[in-house]
Amino acid sequence: MKLLTLNFLTCARKACKTSAASFPLHPREAELEQVELDMNPQFIRNVLPRVEWEAMRSISQELGLPSLPDTAPGPEELADAEGGPTQILKDLHTLLMETTIASGKLLCANCGHEYAIKEGIANFLLPSHLV
């Protein structure tokens, strides 16, 4: 699972919907894997305003990744004078699109439920009593 996706996931339980603690989910015992992907600058430009930067910072910290700047890069920082990708854009690509959780768990801080991740796929099937 890409860190981008983790930045949009919440706990699936109905009881957690209204709780701020159900986002972000917290990675536990995570095995990271870098998966190469073609850079898509326009996609990053489009999705970046939707990324919760605070959550991105805390997720990165919990995963032991280098710490991120206090605020999200602005759109003007993504392209250089010639319109080419800046180092900031390349770093965002590496972080959001290529850094993946291959296995581990995602913990909801509100209800304590853990979602297992295997082969990069998180199991969001809830037992019926938790739905």
Binding site: K2, T5, K14, F43, N46, R50, I121, F124, L125
Partner: protein, 215 residues
């Protein structure tokens, strides 16, 4: 041919043998690809978008989303949900670029409000009408799905769901659940009145009927 929906729940029906059959049958692949292209055409995305693939199966439609050329507004990034782990295993084998979740769409879509630009679903949402146990109803599953799908799309976002309604009653049950969730909805039929009729539920967040063809 009997409808798979009538025999078993999808996680049991799409076991390893069925999943392989489904992914390797060139006839099914072609139909799936055609319907995905049609759904993309209806979504009319102008820029690389973040797309939810509901019932992504083995990633056939996802691969198409990933391969849309730049001049056609792509390539898109997608997250898929599917209840069948064998289908998702097939997708892993084919090294798809999107992310996938093992999830039951009848339990809802667990994403923050306004996450996706668009959603696509090929041959999946009729499964919502199957309720296997006494504590869940088709109505409850449809509501949970469409309410959360609506929330997960950004304002102005669109969803196109191709599905195989069992009958007129099921078709209106599904459409009504989408409308109740707040979607502007329309039904579009390709090859109507034929055996190969294709039904597309076209949904928009914050808009009326986008097909101009209300059922």
């Amino acid at each position: 041919m009997s409808r798979p929906e009538d025999s078993l729940p999808p996680d049991l029906f799409y076991n390893d043998v069925e999943s392989r059959k489904y992914t390797t049958s060139s006839r099914i692949r072609n139909i799936q690809a055609d319907m995905t292209h049609r759904a993309l055409e209806l979504l009319d995305l102008q820029e690389p978008s973040f797309i939810l693939d509901v019932g992504c199966g083995s990633g056939l439609s996802g691969e198409i989303l990933s391969s849309v050329e730049e001049e056609d507004g792509g390539p898109h990034m997608w997250v898929g949900m599917d209840i069948s782990s064998s289908m998702l295993a097939q997708a892993l084998e084919r090294d798809v670029e999107g992310d996938m979740l093992l999830a039951d769409i009848g339990q809802g879509v667990a994403f923050r409000p306004g996450t996706f630009d668009a959603a696509i679903s090929i041959s999946a949402i009729q499964w919502l009408c199957n309720a296997e146990t006494s504590d869940v109803s088709p109505e409850g599953r449809l509501k949970r799905f469409f309410d959360s799908l609506y929330a997960s799309l950004k304002r102005g976002g669109k969803a196109v769901c191709q599905f195989y309604p069992k009958n007129a009653q099921q078709r209106s049950m599904i459409t009504n659940a989408a409308i109740k969730a707040g979607f502007g909805a329309g039904i579009l039929e390709d090859d109507p009145e034929t055996k190969s009729v294709k039904v597309y539920l076209v949904l928009s967040v914050g808009g009326g009927d986008v097909t101009g063809a209300v059922s």
